[in-house]
């Protein structure tokens, strides 16, 4: 129930923001851009899921006959590439905030929010997080990862900690970089 509750909070906040915030600076009704992901409103469990649609393709990583394709700040798509003419989607490992991975001896190392984690893949499709090391770096930026610039939904500190950014259709965004 907790998750549902958070969703409603998120939805009502989102709606109220749409109705009450005028956009004096950027007269844009609807535009593609980035919006922040808040820890308090997100399922941040590291887990294997069924194949997912790609949201925002990131870096690639190869290991023998397997392809790992990062989905910016969401996780990693796993492909069986033993037939490169017909790569086959195996699943999606949800790792919120993830951009980079490396794999050795069946263990994946990944950035996950503020952490470096180790994910044991040796019993795939059973996976488990076996280590979590807190980074000493700063948290996820309060600015979106769009190196080419563009609109984004302003961070609302009252909604909690920003743990990543996702592409979305924005309505009257107030921020731009």
């Amino acid at each position: 129930m907790k998750r549902i509750y958070f969703l409603f909070v998120a939805a009502s906040l989102g709606l109220s923001a749409c109705f009450t915030d005028p956009v004096p600076v950027f007269p844009v009704e609807e535009v593609q851009g980035f919006k922040p992901v808040y820890a308090e409103e997100t399922d941040i469990e590291v887990k294997l899921m069924s194949p997912q649609a790609m949201r925002y393709p990131g870096k690639i990583y190869v290991l023998e006959d397997y392809l790992f394709i990062n989905d910016l700040n969401y996780g990693v798509h796993v492909y069986d590439n033993s037939n490169p003419y017909l790569p086959r989607k195996l699943g999606f490992i949800q790792i919120i905030g993830n951009q980079d991975i490396a794999i050795r001896n069946g263990v994946m190392y990944a950035d996950y929010l503020e952490n470096l984690i180790a994910i044991d893949l040796r019993s795939y499709p059973e996976i488990s997080v076996t280590e979590r090391i807190l980074n000493d770096r700063e948290g996820v930026s309060n600015y979106p990862p769009n190196s080419e610039g563009g609109y984004f939904e302003c961070v609302d500190p009252s909604r909690g900690t920003v743990i990543g950014w996702v592409r979305a259709t924005l309505y009257q965004p107030n921020c731009y970089r």
């Binding site: 050795r104 280590e131 090391i133 980074n135």
Partner: protein, 249 residues
């Protein structure tokens, strides 16, 4: 069960297409080390994981694979973007240049040399006594005016120097296989250079039809990633890359 239903309701509400059960698929390889592209921030050499993050290089021991241990951190006075490991060297691309660290003692990377240039976005990849660096201008990449491929001599690893710069359109990642250098050129696709004379890369091919930001050479395949998806090529004939498949999003 109720929790499961709630979860599914939530997911469908926010528009994600997902099932509640994990997928099929056999086991993944349980040995060996994988390979990232030139824009990676993680690299594994031997039993150590090196991570660059903003202005640091951190080292983790993988002696116990499932429980990596932090070993050391090096501050790099720059905006660090990429890392590439080869033998006992780390090649780090940053906004102000290329840094080389020696990891003969794996726990403690030791600074050995650098090559500075105007600010740009720039992965680096070594090739014998040479290194290739792409410099990309434009917003988000600071104020670099030029888009170019730099050829560096790193014979004296403490004093890399520039041999020449080759004008490019919008270069991102790069990769090498044998005597071929592949450069991702964003909306202009992939350029292929023959580097049998490493100081004089000679363009021999150009595949234009796709958007590419990074490449990995793996088992005779050129794997290129870009805005629209992942494309795999047979590069047996480098002047004419043969598209093997495309994973489009």
């Amino acid at each position: 069960m109720k929790r499961l239903l709630n979860l599914c309701a939530l997911m469908s509400l926010i528009g994600f297409l997902m099932a509640c059960e994990s997928s099929d698929g056999g086991g993944l390889p349980t040995s060996g080390t994988g390979q990232g592209g030139s824009t990676a921030r993680f690299t594994i050499l031997g039993e150590f994981l090196y991570v660059v993050d903003n202005a640091t290089l951190r080292t983790f021991s993988l002696e116990n694979p499932t429980e990596p241990e932090f070993r050391s951190v090096v501050d790099i006075d720059d905006v660090v973007e990429t890392i590439y490991g080869l033998d006992d060297k780390l090649f780090i691309g940053s906004q102000n240049g290329m840094y080389i660290y020696d990891v003969s003692i794996p726990e403690y990377p030791d600074y050995v040399g650098a090559f500075s240039h105007i600010q740009a976005c720039d992965p680096v990849i070594p090739y014998g006594n040479y290194a290739y660096v792409t410099l990309r201008g434009g917003t988000g990449c600071r104020n670099a005016a030029n888009n170019q491929l730099d050829v560096l001599d790193i014979t004296d690893i403490q004093n890399p120097f520039l041999i020449q710069s080759i004008p490019m359109s919008n270069p991102h990642g790069l990769g090498i296989s044998g005597q071929l250098l592949f450069v991702a050129e964003a909306y202009e696709g992939i350029k292929v250079f023959n580097i049998s004379n490493p100081e004089e890369p000679l363009q021999v091919g150009h595949y234009r039809e796709i958007h590419v930001v990074d490449v990995i050479l793996h088992r005779g395949l050129l794997i290129a990633t870009g805005r629209d998806g992942v494309h795999q090529f047979d590069y047996t004939n480098p002047t004419e890359l043969q598209l093997v498949s495309s994973l489009t999003y």
